[in-house]
Symmetry: C2
Subunit: 379 residues, 2 copies
């Protein structure tokens, strides 16, 4: 039995319809979208357009042209941060952010951008008041992960969105761990910029992602070039999405992402969340019974996504993960998960944790197998 | 009969092995490369590594870690240009460059980078002496498309490479139209930076591309974030390829790209070029017989790739292309092909041309069908 518990990195498997959509696009559409008027190019265009519309509806984005496709969530975050922040600007982030936020901001610091990291508690929870207190005259952006990729802790996007709206400061949300399992409404949540990978809970393939840019928001493009539009000009087009989408898009990948979201819609995001919550609850309850286990982040299912980080006192986490993989074909992730600040926050830096993360396709039977295997390894 | 003559935009179809590699990776590997030690992650890692090795061998790149995967050729060019040129620097480009080169450079002009466009002749040919003459004390980069995407004209990469090497100026080659049909040897051709899309003549899927960065070359990353390496640091790693590869890679796409190059190796790049040359020659000879046709670029097969641009005097090119598509299911591209400077050079701006471009999978039978159909449309 092969058990994949690394869905917070990339969800696997995908729904069969995702494989089919990619394969069909590869074999029967093939052409370049937006690069000509012939019928295959138009078919490719329609795929891209429909994917955009599907995403817009899913996140309550008023106009689908405000969605810019990227190759992953990281590119979307980089476009938002590097395209928006200027020397002298101040940004606020939480201490649970991923390196996809921390590293570009660290780079921008050299260009004169100032960043405040607001401390979360030991469970990774963020007090919105702490964010409010850090707002300065030159605060131009608040950046928040919707949920930690280390502990699954859900951060208060709604409350921070209200603060941001009240203060007139744009909010960038990194939805890498929530898009597809927790409903996101960019309007209701006052989100100006939403960065999403396509290959996690949205169930699309690797090589996809997008940035939602709210209307009237002025970003500098990160990548410029052929857009199939305004080709006579040496300047990048000034309209969305072309301004931020240069070069050939990943049409088969985007077709797969569309199929992934359609699968979620068909099953309903609530059903998916309930299933994943049930798995997390079952897992935590069984894990708690193991001697010397230390689980990080909130234990209450309502406060977290289907990510559980833990260590066993006196045991090397990497050794446990290796044994799980080699002896039982159980795949988990161990280490810092590209989020050193989060591990500092929960007290697990620099060793990290064992991270288990579920998808709609995991089962209680797999959890039982995991727990049994872990017990054997520990004895 | 459906005829696809738009291979200069995206090659279609791909070899069956490309579809299979993508599908296999999606369904049986699935995990994130370089993001964990479990077996599926290692399998993904091996795919990426082997693809890198395949590319390195194909372009005579001494060390495969100097290959950075990107989502297309445009991203690779942007990384090279924006990562390297600084205020006060001077760059030289040809007048046949694509907007993927022109637009980022236009943006860099605002930051104080100076650019000289060296004029090519009416056939798109470049005299290396003209490049030599434009070299200044602050010339930091020469950028050259290996072949025009409008006329197929092959530019003198070897001669320019020699000039660049002699003068100690790095050469960035945009191999969008040649990688996979014309042998490229980064060492012999003195290429410091090689930008390639994966979805054209390399026969990989959309969503792939790469930049080769020669050893010791210092670029600033465009996109920063999680690399699965040095996760404890807020700084981007300083080693290749991780320094320039953040976020989850397009593993299935890269598996497809690897399969595409393996197909080329199996068939041999010479065989492919000969087949495409034969098609171009046949096409040009038949096209020349049509009344009032004007073919742009060199007519000698040795001087061009399998791209033919033409117009019919007194006829609207867009109308012809539409008729070819709607009545005969023949797909060509019409307009400026994202290369306004090239069209200005050959005298077809702003109306553009009808562009026909072949791949290894096209046939003489398809060309005959095209010519017959065109004749009916023109009568």
């Amino acid at each position: 039995m092969e058990v994949y518990f690394d869905n917070a990195a990339t969800s696997y498997p995908k729904p069969p319809s995702v494989y089919e959509a990619i394969n069909f696009t590869l074999q029967h559409v093939g052409a370049n979208p937006g690069r000509g008027e012939h019928s295959l190019s138009q078919s490719a265009n329609r795929i891209i357009f429909k994917a955009r519309e599907t995403i817009a509806e899913f996140f309550n984005i008023p106009n689908s042209r405000n969605i810019v496709f990227t190759s992953n969530g990281t590119e979307a975050i980089n476009l938002a941060l590097k395209g928006f922040l200027k020397p002298g600007d101040h940004g606020i982030i939480s201490s649970m952010e991923h390196n996809s936020v921390v590293r570009p901001l660290n780079s921008l610091k050299n260009d004169g951008v100032n960043v405040t990291i607001v401390q979360c508690d030991k469970e990774g929870k963020l007090n919105p008041d702490y964010v409010f207190k850090e707002i300065k005259k030159n605060t131009r952006l608040i950046v928040l992960t919707h949920a930690s990729n280390v502990t699954g802790t859900i951060l208060p996007v709604e409350e921070i969105g209200e603060i941001a709206a009240k203060k007139g400061i744009p909010l960038l949300v990194d939805a890498a761990q929530t898009a597809g399992t927790i409903p996101i409404d960019v309007l209701r949540n006052n989100i100006s910029l939403l960065a999403c990978p396509g290959h996690k809970s949205l169930l699309g393939p690797q090589g996809t992602g997008f940035l939602y840019i709210c209307e009237g928001f002025n970003l500098k493009p990160l990548i410029e070039g052929g857009t199939g539009s305004n080709s006579e000009l040496s300047e990048q087009p000034d309209f969305l999405p072309d301004r931020f989408q240069s070069g050939t898009l990943n049409t088969p990948g985007i077709a797969g992402l569309k199929a992934g979201i359609e699968f979620i819609n068909k099953k309903s995001i609530q059903t998916i969340k309930e299933h994943e919550d049930m798995l997390s609850k079952t897992f935590i309850n069984k894990l708690k019974e193991i001697n010397r286990v230390r689980i990080y982040g909130p234990l209450s299912i309502k406060e977290k996504t289907a990510v559980v980080s833990f260590n066993i006192k006196g045991k090397d986490s990497a050794d446990i993960a290796t044994a799980l993989d080699e002896k039982y074909q159980i795949m988990v992730r161990v280490g810092l998960h590209c989020s050193p600040h989060a591990h500092k926050t929960i007290g697990t830096f620099p060793d990290g944790t064992i991270r288990v993360s579920f998808s709609i396709f995991n089962t209680v039977h797999e959890i039982d197998y995991f727990i049994d295997s872990l017990k054997v390894i520990l004895n």
